[in-house]
């Protein structure tokens, strides 16, 4: 038999099998819109940034398991992504129209994702959020797009014994260091010769750390990332005299030898190992620091640099995608997850500030004499939410570059003028980011 004949027979057999099995059908894969239905059960996809964060992921999974067990109409299917690459994964999925139904979002990104059409308003009854802390709500254009179970608080960790030995006052929540006091404390610590660098502001940090950590210092000087009256321009607030003063001061911390131009990879580890005297970090580091120094450690507000002490506010929150094919199911889930017991769970297991005042009553750590009370008070007293504007991601990346240039010794006025002009041009070219 010739090869050609064999080939023809094989081809015929393939066609026959295909035809007899029949039904070469087109499937409409409804999972592309974050939900699919089979046997009367609608499966909703949920994405979280907690891949690799075992503790928080365990709570996410618990809430999902509880919801799945509580009813039989919907089933939530959780997919975890590592935080560092989460935003890129969401952006790619949005471009492909393959967003899940429920997803978590870093607070400052909510306005942009709402404006870009990734998110739909939650449209949940108002009483769902009656006890919610304002910094844990993603409210844009008067609509609630997201809510979070917790918040975090930046602070400066210091050792009381180290400060009192050199005659420096230990600041309190009500009375932070003034700029003069802070500068003097740094000089005294440096003169003591015990520390190569007395202060760790996390200068090796990248990405969102830079605006999260340094824009409150800028605001404490009297500047800001954008003029919040209409969110249309950064002129005068990001490149005015106060902002230039902030930038000059930041650089002087390096020039005076108080802090490294590029700090160690992990500020908490350096502080715990006694390499630095003051570390600017978040409430997430409290356990590791307390474990080492016990009652000798104090978590204090950043200094009041002229316009009051400030810290960043807003953490991860849950939202609903606008592509979701089963919005009712997603809302059911979100409402279920907004029970006070889950706020308690997140706070208890992770040591984070509960996003719901009703939960505070059930958390001894946040009671008047609780070990984490200080973070709640810091958040309540000093938190400033990052600008609620769809322009925020651009503002953030522009400010990141400006911070790095300033720390590297760039001319403050030139750097901030450039950042301001970039931000203003971006806002203008996006039609003021109108909804």
């Amino acid at each position: 038999m010739s090869h050609h004949r064999i080939h023809r027979r094989i081809a015929a057999a393939v066609v026959l099998v295909a035809a007899s099995s029949g039904l070469v059908a087109c499937s409409s894969d409804s999972s592309g819109t974050g939900a699919s239905t089979a046997d009367g059960v609608t499966t909703l996809k949920l994405w979280t940034h907690n891949g690799g964060n075992a503790q928080e992921l365990a709570i996410n999974k618990q809430v999902v398991a509880d919801f799945n067990a509580s009813q039989s109409k919907y089933k939530v299917d959780l997919q975890a992504f590592p935080q560092a690459s989460y935003n890129d994964a969401v952006t790619a999925a949005a471009a492909a129209k393959k967003l899940p139904c429920v997803l978590d979002i870093d607070g400052p990104n909510v306005p942009n994702w709402a404006w870009a059409g990734y998110l739909a308003p939650l449209d949940l009854p108002e009483e769902t959020f009656k006890d919610q802390l304002p910094s844990t709500m993603g409210k844009v254009d008067d609509k609630v797009y997201s809510f979070g179970h917790y918040d975090v608080a930046l602070n400066m960790a210091v050792r009381k014994s180290v400060l009192t030995t050199i005659g420096v006052r230990v600041p309190t929540i009500d009375k932070p260091w003034t700029r003069t006091e802070f500068d003097a404390a740094l000089a005294k610590l440096k003169a003591g010769g015990k520390y190569r660098y007395t202060l760790d502001l996390g200068t090796s940090g990248t990405g969102e750390w830079l605006p999260y950590a340094y824009s409150p210092l800028l605001q404490s000087f009297g500047g800001d990332l954008i003029n919040r009256s209409d969110y249309k321009s950064a002129a005068d607030v990001l490149n005015g005299p106060k902002a230039i003063e902030w930038a000059t001061w930041m650089r002087s911390l390096i020039a005076n030898g108080y802090m490294a131009q590029k700090s160690g990879a992990d500020g908490t580890v350096d502080f715990v190992n006694g390499k630095t005297a003051i570390v600017y970090t978040g409430s997430w580091a409290a356990d590791a620091i307390t474990k080492k120094y016990g009652g000798d450690v104090a978590f204090v507000p950043p200094p009041d640099l002229g316009n009051g002490a400030k810290i960043g506010g807003g953490s991860w929150q849950w939202g609903l995608s606008s592509d979701c094919a089963a919005k009712d199911g997603a809302r059911e889930y979100l409402k279920f997850s907004a029970q006070t017991k889950y706020f308690v769970e997140y706070s208890q297991k992770l040591g984070l500030i509960p996003g719901n005042t009703a939960a505070v009553d059930q958390l001894p750590n946040f009671a008047a004499d609780g070990k984490y009370r200080v973070f709640l008070e810091l958040a309540q007293k000093y938190a400033v939410v990052r600008p609620v504007t769809p322009a925020y991601p651009f503002i953030s990346t522009t400010f990141q570059k400006a911070c790095q240039d300033i720390l590297a010794g760039g001319d403050p006025k030139k750097v901030l003028d450039k950042a301001t002009s970039d931000i203003d041009n971006n806002i203008k070219s996006n039609g003021d980011y109108q909804f």
């Binding site: 029949g22 690799g52 935080q83 890129d88 790619a92």
Partner: protein, 299 residues
């Protein structure tokens, strides 16, 4: 080889001891980071940092344990990620060698109109960075159909996202591999083809029985140069793979960059994902160097 001869004879004016010293310094420059990674993977985080200022950073001293490796498996599905990457990389390499060598064979051995234009067009694609194609490619793979077996029926599904094929198929045809094979094939005398033709060989027979058996170094080089980007692939799987079950190793490293970074676990995970690459390179090293030397390609 000319290079070997020069080295064996010693360069004029350079004393042998200096040459050896230079080699030792070079060896240390390249091997110390790997040694640091492996040693640090056995230490707790605090010790990694306290050892940094001394030679202890490169020595397995202090509190040594496999805790970081245990931590890696608790934090990420590392075995699944490794398996996925092995599967994606091996298939990409195997199919890539066949497809690219066939294309290069057609370009270098067969005479047809427009051959040079096609070759130029293929080489021209080398200047387009993948990042510029990534988003349009996502759009395309999201629209592409696929035939799936569902029971006894063939079902036409839409979209390749979150599959193994989306991590493999776009990277099979590779302009650089085609060019490398093309260069190598061009160095094989065409008289061999003519002899094979006289013996009744078809074009495919010449490819399979004459050209490919003589192209071991080129195959080894293409294997390494295809394997490395497939193994190191990060941006693309990040964009197109959504479930952990299909995620490759490089995306996995991001799992360790939490607010409190687990440096020991990062070192352990890095050691685990570096070993297969080192093994592959050592296995193909001789052929790889031969091919680079003969084709004049610089890495």
């Amino acid at each position: 080889m000319a290079v070997d001869v020069a080295v064996r004879a010693g360069r004029p004016g350079v004393p042998r001891v200096l040459l050896q010293l230079g080699r030792i310094v070079l060896m240390l420059v390249f091997s110390l980071p790997i040694l640091f990674m492996i040693v640090s993977s056995l230490k707790p985080d605090t010790q990694i940092f306290s050892d940094l200022t001394s030679l202890r950073a490169f020595l397995p001293v202090g509190h040594i344990s496999l805790d970081n490796y245990r931590g890696v498996f608790e934090r990420v599905p590392a075995a699944q990620f490794l398996l996925n990457s092995v599967m994606v990389s091996v298939v990409t390499v195997a199919v890539g060698i066949v497809v690219n060598s066939l294309a290069a064979f057609a370009l270098s051995r067969m005479r047809w109109r427009g051959r040079r234009i096609v070759l130029a067009a293929i080489i021209a694609t080398l200047i387009v960075p993948f990042e510029t194609l990534a988003l349009p490619l996502v759009w395309w793979v999201n629209k592409l159909p696929w035939l799936e077996l569902n029971g006894f029926s063939l079902v036409l599904s839409d979209g390749w996202l979150d599959t193994y094929r989306v991590q493999i198929l776009p990277f099979i045809a590779n302009a650089f591999s085609i060019y490398l094979f093309y260069q190598f094939f061009s160095s094989i005398p065409t008289e061999l083809d003519e002899a094979a033709r006289v013996d009744g060989a078809s074009w495919f027979g010449i490819y399979r029985r004459v050209v490919m058996p003589l192209s071991g170094p080129a195959v080894a080089t293409v294997a390494i140069l295809t394997f490395l980007p497939a193994w190191n692939s990060y941006l693309w799987p990040l964009m197109v793979v959504q479930s952990e079950a299909k995620r490759p190793v490089m995306v996995g490293i991001q799992y360790f960059f939490q607010l409190n970074v687990a440096w020991g676990q990062i070192m352990a995970y890095s050691a685990m994902i570096t070993v297969p690459v080192l093994v592959l390179f050592v296995a193909f090293q001789r052929a790889f160097v031969n091919s680079i030397a003969s084709s004049g390609v610089k890495g």
